[in-house]
Amino acid sequence: MKRISRHVLSATLFAATMLSGAYANAADITVMGYRGPFEDNYKKAVIEPFMKAHPDIKVNYYGVQNAATSLGNMRAQRDAPQVNAVIYDLSVAKIAKEEGLVADLDTSKLSNYADVSDIGKDLGGAAIPLTYDTLTLIYNSKAFPTAPTSWETLWDKAQAGKVVLPAQGGGDIQAILLTIISNRLAGEQDYKNTIDPGVDKLVELAPRVQTWEPKPDAYTLVANGTATVSIGWNARSQFYFDQTEGRMGSVGPTEGTASQINVVSAIEKASEPEATQTFINYAIGPEAQAAFAKAMFYAPVNTKTQVDEATAKRIPMMDPAQREKLIPVDWMTIGDMRDDILQPWRRKIIPAGR
């Protein structure tokens, strides 16, 4: 009996030692990123498979409203970060890098980095491309039995009062891209020369706009018929196409569209840098990229990603014809031009629609 007890005690001590050792080696990291469908699908497609492959690393997801909120949290937690990595927009990442809020990772230590496309690599290890998305024209399927093909549909007089344009607070990156696209429709190819023709064209559109702040969002208003046409991001449009059983459609217009880049950064001064780096390397790997593309229709950044044909058809960035027509946008200089592009929205474009 004594012998059995001694064995049980030894086994218990051994198990406790092993468990405490395992616990000491386990890393717990938090990734901050967009909430809503992005969060739900990212957890399922990327985080859960990552944790299965790396049982010693636990990944938590902290959802926020947008990239600006992420920047605000990073500023507030500058000296004692509570998150380890952040998923946000490239133009906001530039600000974070300049303020010293993100770590500049050694990309040579990321085995998947070499396979990442060159688009959006401007900030090096401080902001690594994670997903590509494109601006699309979204439309109500009942109002448009045949899908529209041109951005000019927004200016169609028959749609007056049924156009919604998301330009909350005078506009964000969607407004910036629409200005650049309008500029090209008005004949000016390079937004760096002038945006005046584009602004004039948007002033012409303003009186036909129902709202500049669609609530809850443009996708819902178009799907339920409150509006007939708007602009949106392809990934979310495709997601809502499925959710609404096709009541809302999405199209990459023939004039071409522009891309938006989400990046992932490791937070400066955050704990667990190695586990964070392991996660980031996995997130840009072909397996995670393919899974998230299938779940949310974001274009993969990893060139070795294999995406099934049905999914690829719904991602304009994966269509060679659409990719060729991609309107070049330099997100590094957009930051400096941001005020110049958005000021006319508040002073000329939106007031023209009152």
Partner: protein
């Protein structure tokens, strides 16, 4: 016990009075600490951020500048923001007063049997979040909403009236949201109004208009001042209703603070506008205290 009480010398009373301020301070201290940590410190921090210099794109630097304030006061758009906010503040306050005053007067005069129930009905909208009520107005006033639906189906109009996504929608929503606050303030300030004064005025030959102008209005003025102050401050700082019912067309100081902080990422500009709004609130309070002193 009685013996003990009676044995306490009367001379000890001043000593007890001396300890009183300590008790008072001890009672006030928790609230003072909470107020200092949750209000004073953030306002000081806000003031400091308002002087931080930011580079293009919203990048914060370590330098301090007066430019954020200078830019605000030299920009015609900022002046438009102030005037829009003041017009909304005064306009909504006036309309709310006109709507709530008869309700408050009726509640003051109604028999006590009905007063409590009617009072609860008046303030019952406060039980529902203003966000939910504003969404309700979006459903009622929208192009495909109840109001336009009735007018169109009855053939009065051919195309929907634009009742939302503009300033009109914001006014309608704000007035509805603020009526309970105004009514509560008015009722609280109607203490001096008694029927005997009106009866005395009537017995001296004053008609109903004169009684209202010379008796009721002066006696209810403290309630009006309190209600107007509350509604003005709430209107100026209102954010949710203008955001939801303005359709992005109504630019106000409160919405601008949000936009500058969250959309444009210009924290120093947002902080500078916040400080300016605080100054406007301070001025409103100063006017209120002067008005109240005059009535007293």
């Amino acid at each position: 016990m009685a013996a003990i009480t009676s044995s306490v010398p009367f001379a000890e009373a001043p000593a007890r009075r001396k300890t009183f301020p300590f008790l008072l301070i001890a009672l006030l201290l928790p609230m003072a600490i909470i107020n200092f940590v949750a209000f004073v410190l953030p306002v000081i921090r806000l003031g400091m951020i308002s002087f931080i210099e930011s580079r293009s794109g919203g990048v914060l630097t370590n330098n301090y500048t007066l430019e954020n304030y200078a830019d605000f006061f030299t920009d015609s758009f900022s002046i438009e923001l102030v005037s829009n906010s003041l017009i909304l503040g005064f306009g909504v306050t006036l309309i709310t007063l006109c709507c709530a005053y008869p309700i408050a007067l009726f509640l003051h005069r109604v028999s006590p049997k009905w007063r409590n129930m009617l009072f609860v009905i008046t303030v019952s909208p406060l039980l529902v979040s203003s966000v939910v009520r504003t969404y309700g107005w979006m459903v009622i006033l929208g192009d495909q909403g109840v109001f336009n639906g009735i007018l169109m189906s009855s053939g009065i109009i051919d195309s929907p009236l634009r009742l939302t996504n503009n300033t009109l929608g914001v006014f309608i929503g704000m007035v509805e949201v603020l009526i309970p606050y105004m009514a509560l303030s008015l009722i609280a300030g109607f203490g001096r109004l008694e029927n005997v004064y009106e009866e005395a005025a009537a017995s001296l030959g004053a008609n109903s208009w004169t009684r209202f102008r010379r008796v009721i209005l002066p006696l209810t003025a403290p309630g009006i001042a309190l209600g107007c102050l509350l509604c003005f401050v709430l209107s100026i700082s209102s954010f949710i209703t203008p955001k939801l019912l303005g359709g992005g067309r109504v630019f106000l100081l409160a919405t601008e603070i949000y936009d500058q902080a969250v959309i444009q990422l210009e924290w120093p500009t947002a902080a500078a506008i916040s400080v300016i709004v605080l100054i406007i609130f301070g001025l409103a309070l100063a006017v209120y205290s002067r008005v109240v002193k005059r009535f007293d």
